[in-house]
Symmetry: C2
Subunit: 363 residues, 2 copies
């Protein structure tokens, strides 16, 4: 089997590694930046590098276009042109409608959009890993004009890379991503903006911000080069999601202004339940429970806890540090899947002399 | 010196421990729940427990009212009534205006509001620690009618507990908290609500949510009993902050709908700069830098990294795990203060065989 990878970064490189090692495929790569190509070869992500798209895709059965979103339309068109009648061409971009709309007629049968939910937090082929897609959702966006042979081939290939392919129409995909990925980034940006202005008004010196602010704005300003593309490519869905949030915020403001504690508490509680349900979706091992641990935030404390849990094979699904202002004391929240597992984890952490309380689950 | 603590939970207990051990004060406590009182005595947070407010504050120079926000007005009034003319009465609640407005005339001189930014993530006297307030900002909200003797005494006492007192008027305090603490909670709730509805529309089964969603909504539904009080007590400031966010979201939606990548990128980048500036405020050791580490998320990986950094005395200011869907692979982002320290940390993590990139600082 021959696979072509056009664009050798984190995703392209990881596709190359997985395809080479798991499928035993011959992987041929192209990247306009010859340094990336060289690195990909050195890391074993590519078996061979070529200096043109046409040369790289020649004889390939599956072509992965792993370039930035803005560069995809001409790249996909060129790849479709240069491949045989049974080959499938796909991409790994975060939005799907605009790309589909911008493709030439000729690409309709053999191009099928794709989007692996993996690897967003780092970039560069140096971070590529064979197991990047292991267990990850990989959305595929076939249309009624997609070839059956092509879809079948792509679906199997993606599964063989370790991912869990799922078909979704491009419209739903983009709306979904707007709600669970793009919107949180917009909100984080806006919150940070607002705080910067509000605080500048209060005093010359910015006061400390709390842990809730840190969490809520963690993704503010992340990877501008990638995000300007994503926002632009999904503009209407993102704007619509923003509109929904504006309306919901208006309702929340009204509720809070009304001051009825019972109703406010109800609303607040329901959000906690919703979040737990969302995070548990598709997660094995049962409900996600929070362990709140009061600690000294000296070097080594996190390690000590994580190590003790690791030794007993407890997996930490998620973690947040809440250092106090002096950065020496604070709290750690750990998320562990399943009640029994959470109890076991609490026991272990208590054994280290820390106070622990468990939140969530049936509570 | 005699200190009274009314309400023996995390904050009250920690005040007791710090006052007893650091100031050598005699600490007398009252709590309507006798279990809390007993625990406080066992843990050494109290030297003595009393069964009424009047008995507990008798002869006390400083009285800390550490009860839930809703219970404060009558408690403060009673404490002011039962103490001598030089004593100061304070509280530790998250909002200040409503409490001040609800107090009797007689409390104006000797009650001075307070709010330590510490200990929000856990509760219960079992988590109390002598060093909870070490280095933490402790807002004090004196008014023009506050007694000078009382302010001086309170200010010194709070500093002696290890905190960094700062005077701020109640109005500014509540606006500030609305922006950096209450608003993020509202937003997290709204985002979660919206995602739950949007996703329920898409399919029966909820799809995976990404790391950005997880971070942005981490505080959704936290501690409902506490938060219904906070929202209600700071209703107008929170509603106003929500209104500001609505307007800013409208601007963001317009910008994104316009689709000008350069402008969108500029806006996104500015948010990243703002966030860094906010987080660095008051932090020693220099600019906060992000280390992005690609890892296997097996039990022990976090520990291994944290331990290696701890061994070399690198302190992790903040940390976020971004597990992939299979929960076995993922990325860790670590925040480290200061460029030299970040480089050193990156070197250590690379030595463990992980790919690391540094983001932030001058970038």
């Amino acid at each position: 089997m021959r696979i072509a990878v056009l664009g050798v970064g984190l995703i392209g490189g990881s596709v190359g590694l997985a395809a080479g090692r798991r499928l035993g495929a011959e992987v041929v790569g192209f990247d306009p930046d010859t340094d990336h190509l060289r690195q990909g070869l050195e890391l074993g992500a590519l078996g061979r590098g070529e200096d043109s798209v046409a040369a790289a895709v020649d004889g390939a059965e599956v072509v992965f276009c792993a370039a930035p979103v803005a560069a995809l339309p001409p790249l996909v068109a060129e790849a479709v042109d240069a491949t045989g009648p049974d080959a499938v061409v796909t991409d790994v971009g975060s939005t799907k409608r605009r790309l589909l709309a911008g493709l030439p007629e000729a690409a309709a049968e053999r191009f099928i959009g794709g989007h692996p939910l993996a690897g967003a937090e780092t970039s560069g082929v140096a971070h590529a890993r064979e197991d990047l897609f292991e267990g990850a959702r990989w959305y595929l966006t076939p249309t009624e004009r997609s070839g059956g042979v092509q879809y079948d081939l792509l679906q199997r290939t993606v599964a063989d890379l370790g991912a869990r392919p799922q078909a979704i129409d491009a419209e739903s995909h983009d709306r979904l991503m707007a709600a669970v990925s793009h919107l949180p980034h917009v909100i984080a940006n806006v919150l940070v903006q607002q705080a910067a202005i509000a605080l500048a008004e209060e005093s010359e010196r910015l006061p400390e911000v709390g842990p809730s602010f840190r969490d809520t704005t963690r993704v503010a300003g992340a990877n501008p080069a990638i995000w300007e593309d994503i926002y632009a490519a999904n503009a209407d869905a993102v704007a619509e999601a923003i509109g929904d949030v504006q309306r919901r915020l208006g309702e929340a403001a009204e509720l809070i202004r009304g001051g009825k504690k019972g109703d406010i508490g109800e609303w607040h509680r329901a959000a906690g339940d919703d979040r737990r349900r969302l995070l548990e979706a598709g997660m094995e091992g049962g409900a996600l429970l929070e362990l709140r641990v009061a600690v000294e935030n000296r070097p080594g404390t996190v390690a000590e806890i994580a190590l003790a849990l690791g030794r007993e094979r407890v997996n930490i699904e998620d973690m947040a540090l809440y250092p106090a202002a002096d950065m020496r004391t604070g709290a750690i929240t750990l998320w562990v899947a399943g009640e029994a597992e959470a109890e076991r984890a609490a026991e272990i952490v208590r054994g280290l002399g820390h106070g622990v309380s468990i939140v969530g689950g049936d509570e």
